[in-house]
Point group: D2
């Protein structure tokens, strides 16, 4: 019943409010005896960190992870791994005047309806700050999967109406991190940055699409009929703040295709059965088929904008207001490591679930 | 760990292979003392039934549900409700020659990789016949939700490139069931039927998009941070055979919008807080806000086509083959009640989860 | 949340009321490709079957298991295994007059308080008839474990005040099934039968203790801190009808011992670390240590007796009544295969959970 | 799959090793808007704290709980409540020489077999220090239940062969805390203290039995057939360090009784249906019947003793050793609040699970 846990064999539980003492998590089911590379976790946190470029929120957080259990002499013990990341640059005062109003398309209203009470110092539990815990877990899952030759790479496919047409084959993955837009198409990347900077100036925001592909997953991961691999990936992605859609393989485009166009013929190469095309996105019948897994995640524009908006206060009274908190004009570049992290957590969970006897 | 169960407070487990004796399910957590309308379940099964029109598979199944437990004198006992639907018109002989080949974009290959063994008489567990159990559970959930004034309606938004542009406000819901295409836009409906019939003749198939909206859900359903209402809806939809994508509210389109376009301003009407627009699709921060819930589900074209295809057999040998089993040229019209059913199961689960103390 | 499921990797769900059409179950997570010996399941069912001797209930049930899914050509498919056992000799008329009264120490009252409704044709869901599904699952788990050299044997340690003092080393296990009392001590067995027959004549009943020991479990099974091996065994035993207590190793007697008496010193034998004594009952810190696992389960006397009793009816009115239904004067001999079955389900679940990567 | 979590609607996850930075926990599912009394949590921790009397371990721990999330202005937010208790007086040096040997009846050997690695600074995860997190969760559950008029009281029934014969009716509960033995029978209490002090001097230890009774639980808690109330209580108790047995109501004694002795006749009093006797211990068919819930928990003697013992080292070599760490000669008095805490967690979980629609 625990809504703050995900996974069945590798279980991640997160906790923490944006303006409480910390964000944290507990990972249960991580195999024992695994050497953890702490500097890799740091570098993943740096990819998500606020303040990393001109196009993201200026909130300053060191985002240093502190392990509380489950690791001894840099090795996992097989016991639950708890960790925290302190909240340092929280400015609850920014939010004081928002205490009694419901910001449009935020979760102030729904949290209050559900819980009858809320931490009004910012988003509280609903803040995307929670995702910092997911990045720690994701980094640890990536390290595990890396030993299994599984690599997970996400990038920005589009921001607003600006989109790269590059196919996955054409992408130079070294280019992803070289631009603050995390789009591996230098021309498009520049346009994206310019667009976000313009919106920032206007006090507006935009959405975008992150694409993720995963190589090296062996055939057999996924548990029909409900825990299909793409169903669990989809749920994990949809659980990330601001996500509005998920599709994999040809996704929504497959709805427009005929069977003769969409079917992926099998062939044999070097003793391994593969498909000529990969419209299936690496998953058939909910189970990985050994081809690259490809999916997309749609993010809505950040609801916090500096343009004046109308809304109501707690009493239902109409009111105008203008946001003053620090926020991203576009969350999509910072979402790239979050998407990868949740993918890693899901793939590792299914990897552990399918272990044969 | 059970991949064949979904839900936390209302738990649906399904079982059965397409050519075994039956498909069935167990519903645990359904409240006691509820009067079940068996004729409503029958009518829901009829909406999914094969052979219902010229554009679907001619497989003949009476699809009569038989309850094994949990109901006494038409009332639920609070104990697990088990039920079966017999498989009657199974023709395993259709599949005999497919025993040793991997059909493209089916799950023959992945099931064999995962389990090392498979029921080669048709899709076995991976067959969409499994969804008959979901419709029984969905009908029961709908009856419960109906008492809570929750209504769930799905329809065909598009097939191939043919799509209705009608907004939800414009739709006449009485028109959905009047056409075998289940598209509530008579003009578009005719085009869809014609298109599917053409593909049927050509031995090809097509995909499409089902849209679902849900009215009457009170604010507060959904369990952050992982069991967000849309994350659980998304997983449930992605667990349906042939589904390739899910989005809600403005979905993938929201990625192109700015915050000032996308945000839904609150206002007060008749003592209830509502939003002027509903780009959020009835869910904010993973919790229902009392507005209509709207989402879309993308289906790929049926992989079974009568055109000749190439593939490999179990030994990796290249081979040509042509399907002969009975299949739908387009699953989308029959998927409408399945989408509604899974939505009902998820909404009822969250309804039961949020009960206050 | 599903109270009718047990296990995490091997999940058993049961369903059915004593006077409904059948009792059944679904096993999810059973590995694929395993050859099932159906005659072994039958022989296990025969051990539990009513009417097997003069000291048990005369209810006549063939107790033939019918598999609905998950097995094809006698091999498991890796998909959920559903099965039913029909109720044939149900005599609801026996219960008609009990419809409005609460039988002492039965669950009529508590079911009605919980659910507001109940199947008054006998115990309904609360009847020990439900355990027939556990024996099917247990037989399948035993077959799996047997391939891992795990053997599970239970026997009657005591009935009323009659008890065998034999140590496990002294027991001739071939003697367990040779007596209807299932006590491997021929002298004690005779006394037990005589005692039960006397009580039967008097219309009374008695309790007893079943002891179970398990050989061949390798070190490492059990998941601290909550899913300790003995905690999961204990829960499974306590979930059996009429069970009032569980202890393992020296159990309640260990509370009277000193550490220097109770501690099990380690030693090395044939390259394997063992303990000289086994006061720990094969489990230390919740994890199997490779020694025999030993535990005991206390059963209360059957609440159905033919002596006149007083109680109240639904309105709270005092009333006298005398049972007429067919019941066991002592459930303990028939409980032996049920205890073994639940042990097998738990051990197999933990075996699958500990698979290494 | 997460072995470090317990409960379904109220989920407690614990983490931490005895000599790591802290012990902690996360509580998910605690209702929102509840005012937490922090001083009550402190007082519960004080009851469990080491060093509280001459008969317990002299390890000095302040045991101050620090909340990391889920509570704002002393009110629960409905979000996960994370907390830690720092380890302050850890003396890993005490354990250095035990690094390579397996202490008898400790879990050194089983942890190493399971995980291949262990935190050799004391018991690590297997240490009873983990229970400090359970007491925090238990205190919070008690506060919730107290508002529902549920009271949970445990006491020491016996230590070694010394036992109080007082019935629950005879017990003066104000006497429990007045003696360091936590036995509400002053004469017996003195004997217990004397006995423990004698064993302490001899470097030995002893076991004992804690009895717990719970008043005010309304009828209807418990979820057949596997999550019976006593089955979940039993599992929770058996998950506590050093526990070897659990029984409820007449427990193991009921195995010696006849049905006519054991059955609890119903009667009506002040408009409420009750039973004349309470041999059932407040639970029938796995569901609370409104009478007091009574159960017992058997603890083995602490395995750490100062007498010389023999054992083997990691290589299997026979070796002698003598413990030097600080430990309790008898854990039973300190176990009283732990038993109460786990009972509170289970009862609250079931209370939340049974909420009606």
């Amino acid at each position: 019943m625990s809504g703050n846990s995900i996974g069945k064999k590798l279980v991640l539980t997160t906790f923490g409010e944006s303006h409480g003492p910390c964000i944290g998590g507990v990972i249960d089911g991580y195999p024992a005896g695994f050497s953890i590379d702490l500097s890799h976790i740091d570098s993943e946190l740096a990819r998500r960190r606020p303040g990393q470029s001109s196009i993201v929120t200026p909130r300053k957080e060191k985002d240093v992870v502190e392990f509380l259990s489950g690791i001894y002499k840099d090795k996992t013990l097989g016991t639950p791994i708890a960790f925290i990341i302190k909240n340092e640059d929280s400015k609850p005062s920014d939010y004081r005047k928002l205490k009694d109003i419901y910001r449009p398309s935020h979760s102030d209203y729904t949290y209050e309806m559900k819980y009858g009470v809320r931490d009004e110092r910012g988003g509280g539990r609903s803040s995307a700050r929670e995702t910092v815990a997911r990045v720690v877990a994701g980094a640890m899952a990536k390290q595990f999967l890396s030993k299994q030759n599984v690599q997970i790479k996400a990038f920005v496919r589009s921001v607003g109406n600006i989109s790269t047409k590059k196919t996955i084959e054409d992408i130079d993955f070294d280019n992803i991190e070289s631009s603050p837009a995390r789009c591996p198409d230098p021309e498009v990347s520049k346009k994206i940055i310019k667009y976000i900077e313009k919106l920032k100036e206007e006090g507006d925001s935009t959405g975008g699409v992150v694409e993720c592909f995963i190589t090296g997953v062996k055939p057999g991961l996924g548990e029909p009929v409900f825990d299909k691999l793409h169903a669990d990936l989809g749920k994990a992605m949809l659980s990330i703040n601001a996500v509005k859609g998920f599709d994999y393989g040809c996704g929504f485009d497959s709805a427009k295709m005929t069977g003769s166009q969409h079917n992926d013929p099998f062939f044999m190469e070097n003793g391994r059965i593969k498909t000529i095309t990969n419209n299936s996105g690496g998953i058939q019948g909910g189970i990985s088929n050994g081809m690259d897994i490809v999916f997309r995640v749609a993010f809505k524009p950040t609801p916090t904008i500096k343009k004046q908006q109308i809304t109501v206060d707690k009493t239902g009274q109409k009111t105008k207001f203008t946001s003053e908190g620090r926020h991203d004009p576009c969350v999509v570049p910072r979402a790239v490591p979050i998407v990868e992290s949740m993918a890693a957590v899901v793939i590792m969970d299914h990897f552990l679930r399918m272990q044969p006897c």
